[in-house]
Structures are given as structure tokens and as C-alpha cells.
Symmetry: C2
Subunit: 455 residues, 2 copies
């Protein structure tokens, strides 16, 4: 009998009742969003046509430590939270490592990922404001699915601009969104000015996240009773995702375990920012000696090969400027199979923490990620999302290092979701037709040269 | 704060350590399997070329109350068990019913259904016997996926004959099986005598479960070191699935709740037989006053329109004869979207209980099932499998009856799995192209006329 169980389920009354705002613990605060015209920090009233009022307040507040989770959101959380915290005994055995591996599993809901944590919060504030609906973009489809579920729950309209290549390759994701009543449009589309402009310029384009964001924002600001919501990157999203880290912290405390390494995949940064929130706080305050590692795809390496600078969040350049590690908003990510990690920039919060040396980052090639994913599926049972598998890959690497040194380190990683809608990617992996594309220095120089000039 | 939580998770040491054999409580035992040639009860040695030895012992044993769950199987169960037992507060609210609705959710594993409970047991006994591998058939793909996972865990070869129409319509199911290293062949195939014969006779056939069973059995008996395993119908499978009912019983006890109605979908009967095991025992013994309801599709209504008689389990007529409610082994089920319920017969255990008046049965039309499924997805969050949605449909009907009468009945149903691989069906439902086919009396008369004559 193992002393530590395979799964630690907290009870429902151990679901956090407040989100933790990591910014409140940061010595160097994340840089503010800038108005793309004036280059001055965006004020709440400037953001109001795009975002919901309460979410703007959360976005701009670097000081408040805790935001209470509204009762309606807490009630929804009880559908699928607390999420499982798992000791990866089977993986440890397969690797023959002295390391102790744990993962926080956020895929135990129909959206298949952690995205639901913020979707339900954002839908709640939209409803509270008396809005008719929200618009958004989705790439891999996880965020769109999560938002559809959340809007269905609160009776809000949900207009999703789905990157065209995903719309065509992932009809099932689209169909799940329809189950929840969402209106899904392939992007770029003829329904917006920016969509028509992009289609005119690049008639054969299969779309990008940056372009879908531009379309969703345009529709939100031009349709009465609508606002735009975003599934990652923003401070508010990291705030909501802190439930991941708070539950992980509670589970580790219950087990009496102190983490040595915390690992998460990083696209826009929402999962990682949420997972590490309480641990990074303790690290900043000198109370926890722990490595924190962001894992990104070699094909879209914002941290490891990007520049820390102000940049546009979208292709259409209609959004505020954010200071972040970026590859340039004109960078066209390779069509890799972790759609959730194909974003040119990175959360301002995580960018600042990385710049301050409080976090590490590593970029990994795609086929190695799928090797790790398949091993994980076979021994731990759960078929992981390609995004999550980036964290698995590095957790395995760290566990194998422990095998060499004989150290019994405590490794914690975020298993953000399941791969049930990513089987085209697994098929390519099995057929040996998966590539390990990485951008050349010249590719990056071109897109980085187009960064906006800020005084 | 609700007194009863949304989810009851038992702890890992509350996973049952023995399977419960419902046959031991039955006054009228299920009829024995017959040798198709001699019409005499099958002996263990006659079954040995087809099935694993320990599984045959379980199959033939009507008396032993409990079979201990082997340590290796228990360890695997800890990957995903205890499975959630959920109070459907959101559904109750949506229906505005005084009824209390509970469901046991078996979809929280990558196979997406309860099938894994028996797959891992069967793979264990095959490994224990020193076999090289196993063969099986799969329709919807849930059983094939579950068996692939189980075989991967024990390092066994796994040859899956997948009904051709599913193989072609569900490439993702096939791909999941490949993740777990299974060898998947569309059935009928040219790799077996029976497959070649069927293809010669019906060149355009898209296959059937009965045909795939015949192929898998042929390969098992003709390949040294292989045996055949089956995911439903058999006594041994119901035995393994009793973990569902035992955990549900433990959860209800913990809550102090006595069920008034227990509802499960019924194809071959494995889920229903497992779910009801301890409750049916108590009902037989007069200790529980509870309705037990089997739900089947109108397109394949074994209980409600079939005959209780000996019949072949497979199209090729190579398997033993089983006494069951059957539509006739030549009955060709309509291509409905609950592949797991498209079987012409029903477990001998359940057939006997139904014949003894201990169970009810109801047949429901397909579009009503999908309406219930979509409502459930929207309010309870989880996208249900079409099979499971049959039980949801009747649970909703019963809850609405309670609304009329004002009764606060305790309704428990089995949510056997998730619908992530069934989105073609949901798409048809959304597009309004789903039909409610039911066989005519003439259709049934034709297939029932072909039942074997037993003295």
C-alpha cells in the first residue's frame, strides 16, 4: 500500500473561494497595456468598449491579493472541481526514477482543458453587466468549447471566430460548440472589415489566432450589447486560472510535499500562470526554493528566442499594445499540432517574471513531445493534449536526470487537457509524417523588425 | 450550501476488493451456454480453446458470491477509480423536479466508458495464463479502446476486428487504439474464413458485431497463444462490472440515500448488470423496494420485442448458444448512433431477471435520446455517449413524472461514457437528418423464424 494515494481529491469545500492575484506579490509589476495610438497606459474607460467592466478592473489591478469567486461561478466549478491531483506512480515505474512525479489534471471536463476556469468567470461578468453576448477567437478549439459551455450556462450568445485551418480539420470541435449553442465562423471571414481585408491580401490563407482575434474584437465593438473575451495572455485570465495553483498547493500541503520543480506548457501563459501563482509568490518571498519551468514548442519559441518588447496582440493591430516576450505579431507560426501554443507573444506577467530570472524556459521539438505523450498515455492511462505533452516531455527529462543523480526530487507538472480532438496529430506521429520545424534566425529577424516603436 | 455534495468521491481504499457475482443471489439461475452441435451445456474444457481458463471458471460459476480482484487489477483501477458518483443538481434545477437524481459516471478514463473495468480483468487473466495475446471485436470502438489500454498495460498483443462502418466513420477511435499499440482490422476482412465467406456472399457489407465476433473467435482458436475476449453479454463481464454497482452502493450508503429507481442502458447488458448487481441482490432478498429499468433503442429492442430463447451469439454461428432475449442472430440492426446497443441479444443473467419480473424494460427513439443528451450536456457539463443517453432520457422522464406527482424519488442512473467520438451523430441530430427507425413486425418475424431449434 502506497502512503500517498494515486489521486488526491480535495473535497468540494476545499475549492478556493477567491482567486489569487500573483501580480500583488511581484516586485517588478508587469508593464501596463498601452493605447496603440497614444502609447499611453490604457485607462479603464478606453478598454470599456472591448471588455466587460468587472474584468477590466481585474485586468488593471496589480495590488489586490485576492478576488472573491462569485457564488454562481463557484457553483459551476463544482461540476468538475476540485480537479484531480495525481501521483504518477505508473510513469515513475516506467522511467525507473527515484523522482516523485505529480500532475494537476485539468482535462476532466467536456471542454477538455483548464480553459473552462476562466470562461465561466468571464461569462459570469458579462451576464452581470447585462450583456447579450460575447465574441472570441479559438485556435485548437479548447477555448471556444469552454466559452460555449459557459455561455450556455448563463444564457449568453457566443460568437466564436475559429482559425480556418482548425475549423476545417476539427469538425468535431465545432460540433461540440454547437451542442452548447455557439455560433462558429471560420476566420478570416467575409463578416468583418479586417477579415475581408486579409482575404483580399492573402486569398488562400488558412487563418491565424492573431487574425481571428482582430475579427472577434471588431464584431464586439461594433455590435450593441457585446463584448470581447480572451482565453489567455491577459492578467485577468491568469487570475482566474489561479484556482489550478491554489488547489495544487492545497493537495501538496495535505500530502506534506514540497515541490522542487514545477513545469507547465506555455502558449499565451494562462495555464502556467495559474499553476505557479501561489508557488511563485512563495519563491518571490524567499519561502520556497523551487525551479519553475515554462515549456514551449521549438516552432513558436516566444521565451527562448523572442524579444521582451511592446507588441501588438493581434494581426489587425486593433488591440492594445502589451509588453511581452514576442516573436513579432507578424510571425506566422508553423502549423504544428499544439494549436494552443501557437501564439507569437506571452503573458506580460510571465514575461516580467522570466525577465526577472524567476522562471526558466525550454523549447522542445514536436516529435519528442509526441513520444512523451504516447508513453504517458500507455502508462498513466490518459491520452494527453499535445499542448500538455510539452510539460510531460520536460517532466520526463527531469525525472531521468534524477535517475542519473539518484535524487528523489518532487516534480509537479500541469496536465492541462486531453487529446481526444487531436488524433489527426497522433496519426501523423504514427505515420512518421510529423516534422520538427523551427523558424530560422532570418524568419525571426523579419517579424521582430516590425515591432512597433515605443519611446 | 447543499447537504449532499455535487460529487461523491470514495477514497482509494474504498474501491471494492472483490467482484460481486449476482448469479449467486438469483433463485432462477441463468440458463447455461450450450454446445451448438450437441445442444448440451458447455463444459470448461470445451470453452478452453476460445476463452482464458480463469475466465471460464468465472463464467460457469453461479454460486460463488465474491471473486477477489487481483492486486494488479486493483492497482490499475486506481488510475481512474473510484469513479465519480454525482448528484445531478443542475439537471434537477433545469427540470424543476422534486426528484433527486444521481448518476454513476464511468466515462472518466481515456477509453471513455465502463468497458475498461472488464478489459483490464480479462487482460490480466490472459497474461496470467502466459498467453501471447487476445482477439476481440469492437463496434462503436469503446471496448476495443479499453482492451487496447489493458493489453498495453500487461504487454499483450491485441487484435481488434472493428465493424467496417465504424472503422471508416470513426478513424479517431482507431487511432486511439494505435496509441495503445493494438492491431485494428476492418470486419469483415479477407484474413479469416468467415470474413471471406461473408464478403463473397455480401460484397458491399459494412459489417456487423455478430460478424466481427465470428472473425475474432476464428483467429483466436487458430492462432497458438491467443484467446478471444468479449466486452459484454457474458456472465464474467457482468461480474467484473459489478465494481460500478458496488461503488454506487457505497456512495449511496455514505449519503444515507435509498434508491427508488435504478436506470441503465442495455445493449449486451454489461453496464446494467454491473450497476444493478448489489441492488438486485437486495431486491431479490426483499430488502430493497426499488424499480430497475433497462433502456434499449427502439431500433434494436431485444427485451421489449424479442423472444426468450436459445440463440447464436454471432453471425457465423461458431459461438456457443446462449439463452437470452433475442431478435435473432440474423437480425440486422439499423445503423443507429448508439453502436454499443446494436446487438441482437441480451445477457443471459439480465434475460432471466427480466423474465422473472424483477426488471422492467423500455425502448426509446433515437431523436428523443439526443434531445436528452444535449440537455444533459448543457446543464451537467458532460457530453454523454449516445448509449448512456438512453438512460438519461428515461431518468428525465421519471423525474418529470415526479414533478407531476410531487414525489421526491431517488433516481439513480448509469452514465456509462462520453460522446467525444460520437460527434458525427450529434451533427446529424443538429442537422435534422437523424431518423427514428424501428423494425417492422415482419422484419422481426423473419429473423426470429431462424432461431435454432433446441429440444
Amino acid at each position: 500500500m502506497n502512503e500517498i494515494p494515486y489521486k488526491v481529491y480535495l473535497s468540494e469545500n476545499e475549492i478556493p473561494t477567491a482567486w489569487y492575484n500573483l501580480r500583488s506579490a511581484m516586485v517588478n509589476k508587469p508593464a501596463p497595456l498601452l493605447n496603440p495610438g497614444t502609447h499611453q497606459p490604457m485607462k479603464a474607460e478606453e478598454l470599456a468598449p472591448v471588455f466587460c467592466d468587472d474584468l477590466i478592473a481585474q485586468e488593471l489591478d496589480n495590488d489586490t491579493e485576492y478576488f472573491p469567486i462569485p457564488e454562481e461561478v463557484l457553483s459551476f466549478y463544482k461540476m468538475y472541481r476540485p480537479s484531480p491531483f495525481v501521483r504518477a506512480y505508473f510513469l515513475e515505474k516506467a522511467l525507473d526514477t527515484p523522482a516523485h512525479i505529480y500532475y494537476k489534471f485539468e482535462g476532466n471536463n467536456t471542454s477538455g482543458s483548464h480553459k473552462l476556469n476562466s470562461a465561466i468567470a468571464q461569462a459570469y461578468y458579462a451576464k452581470k453587466q447585462g450583456l447579450k453576448g460575447v465574441t472570441t477567437e479559438t485556435g485548437a478549439g479548447q477555448w471556444g468549447t469552454a466559452l460555449s459551455m459557459a455561455c450556455s450556462y448563463f444564457g449568453l450568445d457566443c460568437k466564436v471566430y475559429m482559425v480556418k485551418v482548425s475549423y476545417e480539420q476539427k469538425p468535431f470541435r465545432r460540433e461540440v460548440m454547437r451542442v452548447y449553442g455557439a455560433d462558429v465562423t471560420p476566420s478570416p471571414s467575409m463578416s468583418t472589415n479586417i477579415g475581408r481585408k486579409i482575404l483580399e491580401e492573402f486569398p488562400g490563407t488558412t487563418g491565424s489566432l492573431g487574425c481571428a482575434i482582430s475579427e472577434a474584437v471588431e464584431v464586439a465593438v461594433s455590435t450593441p450589447g457585446y463584448r470581447y473575451v480572451l482565453g489567455s495572455v491577459l492578467n485577468q485570465v491568469l487570475l482566474h486560472q489561479s484556482v489550478i495553483g491554489l488547489e495544487a498547493e492545497a493537495a501538496l500541503k495535505k500530502l506534506g510535499v514540497t515541490p522542487d520543480i514545477i513545469i507547465g506548457c506555455a502558449g499565451g501563459g494562462s495555464n502556467l500562470g495559474g499553476l505557479i501563482a501561489p508557488f511563485m509568490r512563495d519563491k518571490i518571498r524567499g519561502k520556497l526554493d523551487c525551479r519553475i519551468v515554462a515549456v514551449e514548442p521549438m516552432s513558436c519559441p516566444s521565451f527562448t528566442r523572442g524579444t521582451y518588447a511592446y507588441d501588438f496582440c493581434d494581426t489587425g493591430m486593433v488591440c492594445p499594445l502589451a509588453k511581452m516576450y514576442t516573436l513579432g505579431s507578424s510571425f506566422i507560426p508553423a502549423p504544428n499540432h499544439a494549436g494552443g501554443l501557437r501564439y507569437h507573444g506571452m503573458s506580460s506577467v510571465l514575461s516580467q517574471l522570466y525577465d526577472d530570472g524567476l522562471m526558466e524556459a525550454v523549447a522542445v521539438p514536436q516529435t519528442e513531445v509526441f513520444k512523451a505523450a504516447e508513453l504517458f498515455a500507455r502508462v498513466e492511462g490518459t491520452l494527453p493534449a499535445p499542448e500538455s505533452s510539452h510539460a510531460i516531455k520536460v517532466a520526463i527529462d527531469e525525472a531521468l536526470k534524477c535517475k542519473e543523480t539518484g535524487e528523489a526530487k518532487n516534480i509537479v507538472f500541469g496536465l492541462t487537457g486531453t487529446g481526444y480532438f487531436d488524433l489527426v496529430a497522433y496519426e501523423k506521429f504514427h505515420n512518421g509524417t510529423m516534422d520538427d520545424y523551427r523558424p530560422t534566425d532570418e524568419d525571426l529577424a523579419v517579424s521582430l523588425a516590425k515591432l512597433p516603436k515605443i519611446d
